[in-house]
Symmetry: C2
Subunit: 348 residues, 2 copies
């Protein structure tokens, strides 16, 4: 795309286990890959400045100094009360007031969610924002939402999540018509909670024009046939964390097996470059960067325990959403869907 | 234990993808390992008899002939209407009327659940029965319930599931005081649905004497620290199926990686016996055999697609529950818990 003005990314330099080093090193990697964005760092100047000096691309990057930071242990309301001088609040504010185009933070999730919602406000036509992220499958990666922002959902929420998720997937992959599934305990129409059946009927409405595949089960999440999996925040969180646990178990058992004997160690040595491909395919850093969808602003949450490569990926998520016009795209999609659903309600 | 009378196991010979062969071959393996049980086969004599002749231990086993069988596509109510001459119904009936001590079927899950509930009736003090099964972890196996019988649960259900699950685990492992966790989206007390918080407070009550660890997350299911994970049937099903999907993905990616080049194939060849240990650790056949807990009878559901080794394991689950006195144990545990909870309610 042609850049008329320079884009700006606000980075909460004080969030995450290894902040600010990880944030700055990650930003340096991201800047090496995409020069369209100026990076602005929010946080403690005395700690940020020396680190910036050691970067390749960010020696002259702007710092907005503040000595306040949200603590990882703060509840969302404590963080909001702690106030408007924290690096998290200020970095979000810079997007809310138009100075920056998106914000990335590896800080406290609840606080980032609460502050983003307060400052960005929920998008018109959206009842509740949701957390979405990408995950590996046997084939291409897929995105799932909600991952924990809304523990209880109704049919309307789920239909909106589907539209948000589809636009999110489109922005990051360029796929025109991502295919959607609604998570349930069986594929048959009569399965599951009543609100799931209502949502499924609406999503299947041809006038909405969604590429909706119907109910899917947990086993389908990773089969590579779905682009977007829609669910409530409770089930989404359970699925996500269970997947994480199983992955850990596999890695642990695989390592233990391969270190069992001298012969298996030699086998491991010979197969290690092939196994590296596998590790790479499922490397959580490649999928790092969860997004709060349904707000009038782009806030990307990096995992707090990731490294510079993971943080660079979270930045990439933010810059792609900006460059591919995610906000106008999703807001048009929501308005379109609401018009149709509203008309159907009147007709009924 | 000393056997005063010969124990009897009722087997639905017509349930499962490869019935009756898989049922009979599995029973033969199980019989080789445990001679305390006579096996009785329910189904089509003309198909069962020739197969029994080829077994090592079951040449003289009893057959109760019926030509009716539940179809895998029947809904639960269709199956019940189809009637009382199906191999599934008759095998359950033999337990209900005291002729046999437990029943094992690889047939239609919904039908088995409905028929068991109708014939066994729900245990006194239990509001709703639940499906439980064992799964691999990094350490010892753990059991999870409910896996899909009750999509919506309240605090009372979950507390009962915990007691049922603990007794189930105790019966199969001999561990005196299995440790319990309640599945949630975070470990903090204020997390999750209100009914989860109520259940958690009750489970933590020292008078109940449960080894309760509090809220756990999806990632904890496989960490080897828990013996029993309690959840509602919707979340349990999502966790179970997601785990299955991730396992498939891993196996697929691992195989693809190891077949990538000649070198990696040689590596695979050298490591194959070590990798076999890993496959063995997570082999679903070793965990086959889900149980409907909370009924006045023991019905074990084998996976329909398992082989003879898997079916033999489902039989082992049934025989161990009988031999370890699961029914009197769990019924005493439920009565004890209900007395205490009732007294607390009156005191409050």
């Amino acid at each position: 795309m042609t850049q008329t003005k320079k884009l700006r990314l606000a980075l909460d330099a004080m969030g995450g286990d290894d902040a600010p080093a990880c944030v700055i090193q990650g930003a340096d990697i991201a800047r090496g890959e995409n020069q369209h964005f100026d990076m602005v760092f929010y946080g403690d100047r005395s700690r940020i400045e020396p680190l910036l000096k050691r970067t390749r691309y960010l020696g002259n990057a702007e710092i907005v100094h503040t000595s306040d930071a949200v603590s990882p242990d703060d509840t969302a309301s404590q963080a909001v009360r702690r106030g408007k001088e924290t690096s998290m609040w200020l970095s979000i504010a810079s997007v809310a007031n138009g100075e920056a185009d998106a914000v990335v933070s590896a800080g406290n999730t609840g606080a980032l969610m609460a502050m983003s919602k307060l400052q960005f406000r929920t998008m018109e036509g959206v009842t509740r924002p949701a957390i979405a992220a990408f995950f590996p499958t046997i084939g291409e990666s897929m995105c799932m939402l909600d991952l924990g922002a809304n523990l209880e959902c109704d049919a309307e929420n789920l239909v909106q999540f589907a539209i948000l998720g589809q636009a999110f997937h489109r922005s990051l992959t360029g796929k025109k018509d991502p295919c959607l599934g609604l998570l349930n305990v069986g594929e048959e129409e009569q399965k599951g909670h009543e609100y799931l059946r209502v949502a499924s009927r609406q999503l299947a409405d041809p006038d909405l024009g969604l590429n909706y595949q119907g109910f899917v089960e947990g086993i389908d999440i990773t089969n590579g046939k779905l682009d977007v999996v829609v669910t409530d925040g409770f089930s989404g969180n359970i699925a996500l964390k269970t997947a994480e646990g199983i992955s850990k178990m596999f890695t642990h058992l695989l390592r233990r097996s391969l270190n069992k004997s001298l012969i298996s160690k030699i086998g491991y040595f010979l197969a290690r470059s092939a196994l590296k491909d596998m590790r790479n395919h499922i490397d959580p850093r490649r999928y790092n960067g969860a997004v709060f969808l349904g707000l009038n602003g782009i806030a990307v949450k990096s995992h707090g325990g990731t490294d510079k490569l993971g943080f660079a990926n979270a930045i990439k998520v933010a810059t792609e959403l900006v460059e591919h016009g995610f906000l106008p795209d999703v807001s048009a999609a929501i308005a379109h869907a609401n018009t149709i659903l509203e008309r159907k309600k009147e007709d009924a």
